[in-house]
Symmetry: C2
Subunit: 454 residues, 2 copies
């Protein structure tokens, strides 16, 4: 539904560009939200994009668009502008958005831009750029309301109507002491229900949750989500209020972090972006497949070691895929459940033994069920052969052991990684799959060799 | 960091419960946020949980706790209460939270509760319960500010200070006509900058984005996230304003939808919850492994068909794991990238050929690289055998075809599913993995049989 609207819009823009209908295009630009424009830009060809962009005149609207665009389209468009135009646009934007965009530009250009920007703006941007990536400091905005603790309710309301009209999200009034240290918070609602003379310090809430500039943005998002805040204050080491992180940024963080986790679990690497070139995509994905390559080679040598068994019973080979497949799939189930459980806080590493125990039990039960199925297939397929019962039994046991070990490894590895402060998502995917392949194949041939008496 | 705080709290509560230190426990209850209490409850044993809960006296606080708890803990605690206590608690809660909790109770109990609740409260709850799950109607709250279009700015401010003091999130003033139809919206900020006599209809924004009661909650979340709204109005078929969905609920939706997608992709089923019993977990996961079972059996018969090749060259079997593994892993990469790309709107199904073409190219390049590696291993391992070159070449070609077909299938299947309105996440995982296993094995033996001239 949402997408269709923008696809239709992109179609009309294409048509209007072909006809050179500048007036209509400018009307569209004027009435379309920057978030929608950014999606339309993605649909247009490079040439159309640049032509359409050149019809935009309002620097503020260009700024809004820039803060919504994907990196490569932003870089394409900014290449069309001279430095003075860029500076005008950036000066109209929120400092946190400018700081983010600056990160995409090469240093010569970003330095030149900072040089030319109004002093106050460039100081703000440079300040934000100085915080490490993915910290509260790098995503906070300086756009908050801070009022001294001895100001009365009526004066606070007056200040809101006069001094803070340009604050975008005036939900919380932060209360600071004479040194700018955060001491409390009060809501708009409270202001109107207390006597007008009452100073903030007498009715503010003092059990305020704040984060530090270097708090990881994931922790910031977790706090905001847990307590249903609209914004959370960011303080420096001296507890001085230096910014806020707002809920709209938290939404983006939560969605991005989920994507990063998904990509890591699939063994793609967190930096993978769909719009990359073939070569860049190849380079990022190459090393992630290396674990699986090594595991496959290990399995090759293991099977080679059972050369004689295979020579006698060539049919043993035919069960390799189903045994590997069942182990691999249940391992993925277990590790995914645990990794996501850790990420959403539903699983705690303190409960490692109960979680792993449960996964092991499930693996054992499912192994019994599918082992029986596959054993029956083996028995029926070779019903006239003298070795059919031993073969069926070997295959069944191999499936049981492969599936229960997979569930065990799949759940235990992410728990251990989390305890060791290694990101469970990044290590789980390739690690679990690969080790399971090796273990499954080894168990299978060991069991078969023993039972078939080769 | 966040978790540790609650673990320490759970420890003290355990200690205090042992000592029977009721006073201290009640102090803790009083000063702890419901979101934190819900995490603490998860850490406690069943008995401690119930004892601790019985120390809570304030119905409103119990209500806040209920709205944060996991289903099974909520059911455990509610079993301790008689129906009048439940009614008192529910009456203190927001209608949308009560409607959600009602869904967990059996019908006899929920009917009895509705019967006993104050009329206005029960009507609201029943109304919300009547909307289909996962729609805007089922998650909206009736807690909004709606003012007629001809009211002047000053009177609006007065109304906010008098009639709407209990509205939890007073960010947007929705403007309705005489029939209650939504005609505009205005922000708190606008109210204070216009002349006090000016009626709403003269300065409200009219390009208002709203959703219908039956809009899917994922679409609601997408709109709120895209436009950075704090709430979005929900209207009925006659465009009458009936509720709002607030940003804090949107955060939960985004996180839940990501979890659902991750679980579907891992072939666990969207309803999987970590806290389920072993038997229930087994039952949910069993059918998801069936695809992989069928695929394994198919691969078994395919390999069985190449019985003679295997009898002659038993070493062919040793390469099955590496060929299946490489195909399976790149297939997972491709399908994950596409599924997540579709979910986040970065990939559009209109671009199916460019996306699939890119994945195919990457699969081909990576296949060439790893095919060469594995071919070299094969050549070196069997260097003294007369067939070593043909074997190496077969293995190399098998890896190339397996990896490129996997990238092709892995990217095309979710695109096609999305086009056919089948959830790409749910079908991708088991479907892609299983079909890749079969294709890889078949290609490998075909190529080997041809090249080795068996």
């Amino acid at each position: 539904m949402l997408k269709d609207k923008n696809l239709i819009l992109a179609d009309s823009i294409r048509r209007l560009l072909r006809r050179g209908a500048t007036k209509s295009l400018q009307k569209i630009i004027k009435k379309t939200h920057a978030a929608d424009l950014s999606l339309v830009f993605k649909e247009l060809s490079r040439v159309n994009r640049i032509n359409f962009f050149q019809l935009m005149t309002d620097p503020e609207q260009k700024g809004n668009l820039f803060s919504e665009l994907e990196e490569h389209i932003f870089l394409e468009l900014i290449a069309q502008l001279d430095i003075d135009e860029i500076v005008t646009i950036f000066e109209s934007m929120a400092a946190d958005d400018v700081a983010e965009l600056m990160g995409y530009l090469d240093e010569t250009l970003s330095d030149a831009i900072l040089e030319k920007m109004k002093n106050e703006d460039s100081i703000e941007v440079e300040h934000l750029m100085s915080y490490a990536e993915d910290t509260a400091g790098s995503i906070m905005v300086p756009d908050f309301i801070a009022i001294k603790e001895n100001v009365g309710a009526r004066d606070v309301i007056a200040a809101l109507q006069n001094d803070y009209l340009d604050v975008e999200m005036p939900f919380y009034i932060y209360v600071v002491d004479e040194y700018g240290k955060l001491v409390g918070v009060c809501s708009l609602r409270q202001l109107v229900v207390v006597p007008p003379e009452k100073p903030l310090k007498e009715f503010m809430a003092t059990d305020i949750v704040s984060v530090n500039t270097y708090t990881d943005r994931e922790d910031v998002a977790e706090l905001v989500a847990r307590y249903d805040y609209l914004a959370i204050p960011v303080v420096d080491d001296d507890n001085r209020l230096v910014g806020i992180v707002t809920v709209d940024d938290v939404i983006d963080i939560i969605s991005e972090e989920a994507t990063v986790d998904i990509l890591k679990m699939a063994g793609v690497g967190e930096d993978y972006v769909e719009t990359q070139t073939v070569l860049r995509g190849t380079r990022i994905r190459l090393p992630w497949l290396f674990a699986s390559f090594l595991g496959g080679i290990a399995a090759f040598f293991i099977i080679g070691g059972f050369h004689e068994s295979l020579a006698k019973y060539t049919y043993l080979a035919a069960f390799i895929p189903v045994i590997m497949g069942m182990g691999g799939n249940i391992g993925t189930q277990s590790s995914t459940i645990v990794v996501r459980g850790i990420a959403t806080g539903r699983i705690n590493t303190r409960d490692i033994w109960s979680v792993v125990g449960k996964e092991l039990s499930i693996g054992l039960i499912l192994g019994l069920i599918y082992g029986l199925f596959i054993g029956i297939v083996a028995k029926l397929r070779f019903i006239s052969e003298p070795f059919s019962l031993q073969l069926a039994f070997s295959v069944c046991l191999a499936v049981i052991s492969s599936m229960s070990v997979a569930a065990l490894v799949g759940s235990m590895v992410p728990m251990l990684f989390e305890k060791l402060n290694i990101d469970p998502a990044v290590a789980t995917g390739p690690f679990v799959t690969t080790s399971m392949d090796i273990v499954s194949v080894y168990f299978y041939f060991m069991i078969a060799t023993l039972l078939l008496g080769i």
